[in-house]
Subunit: 194 residues, 2 copies
Amino acid sequence: MRDIKCVAALASRFSMLPGVGKKTALRYAYAVIDMSERDVDAFCEALKDVKQNVKLCKVCGNFTEDDVCEICKARSAKQICVVAYPKDVIAVENTGAFDGAYHVLHGTLSPMNNRTPDDLNIKSLLARLNGVEEVIIATNPDVEGEATAVYLARLIKPMGVKVTRIAQGISMGSELEYADSITLTQALGRRTAL
Amino acid sequence: MRDIKCVAALASRFSMLPGVGKKTALRYAYAVIDMSERDVDAFCEALKDVKQNVKLCKVCGNFTEDDVCEICKARSAKQICVVAYPKDVIAVENTGAFDGAYHVLHGTLSPMNNRTPDDLNIKSLLARLNGVEEVIIATNPDVEGEATAVYLARLIKPMGVKVTRIAQGISMGSELEYADSITLTQALGRRTAL
């Protein structure tokens, strides 16, 4: 039996979501049949609301419903944590260990994928450095993230602002035995005094 | 940082889907921001399409876009496989071991939950038994599924129709939806007379 056409169509929409395979998408689509019409309408409204109302903060580039995001409104920008994507802001916020401001680049430098500095949200970062004491670069510890960090450091340090990079090493709770050798080499090289 | 209001609202909609927790729902909601407006509109259309166009087959009670479902249109109803839910039709179809028709009860008897025979799609099953050679009862092998099977057998056997039950190759307490095709095929093959 083929799946019902409109159910299959909805499933293909669900499968555009991250981590949703064919089977899960179909399961979601069938679940929609059991929802009330009211719930389905509300679902649609919520989808459109997000697409229409979420924009980028004029200051930091993070997602917001206003012109300027809540973090930029509420916090001091003496320390700015630079991340690649909005989801990284959420990750850092969830630690509760940082109470400064953010700057979202919306990508990393990648010559392979034709992503140059002009494609990233860098100009507005340079424009807000007046009075900033430290820029913490929290891009991923991979080739592109490292390249972006080095590029930004070269750009910002001459402006008299301290530039730091989040520490790299063995992650908490992991086992030395299974760490890859690059990580382990870096953890050894960057060892700190106890 | 609180999540953006409309994103949180969309996440709460996603969390109504089966098996979607708070974190996954939020991940889906943020992914919608990155979709094109066109894709979001198409998503909405697909949601509403499913809710508006999927109805129950007048003959068997399975989901369909027409008055009568594709299976009822195409296949002989000499053998009718009775299941509790539409998702169970999909499970049996996926085995490829059955080429008869289905009947979907939309539930099982459950005195605990006040579900009596009147709440199930039983009348239309009795109405279509003329010329039927065998009714295979494929409800879940749990208390409610067994009770429903026994009830139906008592109802149908006096009408001169053979009533069988899928074999208890499926372990007690498990659910049809998650059974692997081989187990389900064996259960069909070893069905026993009631």
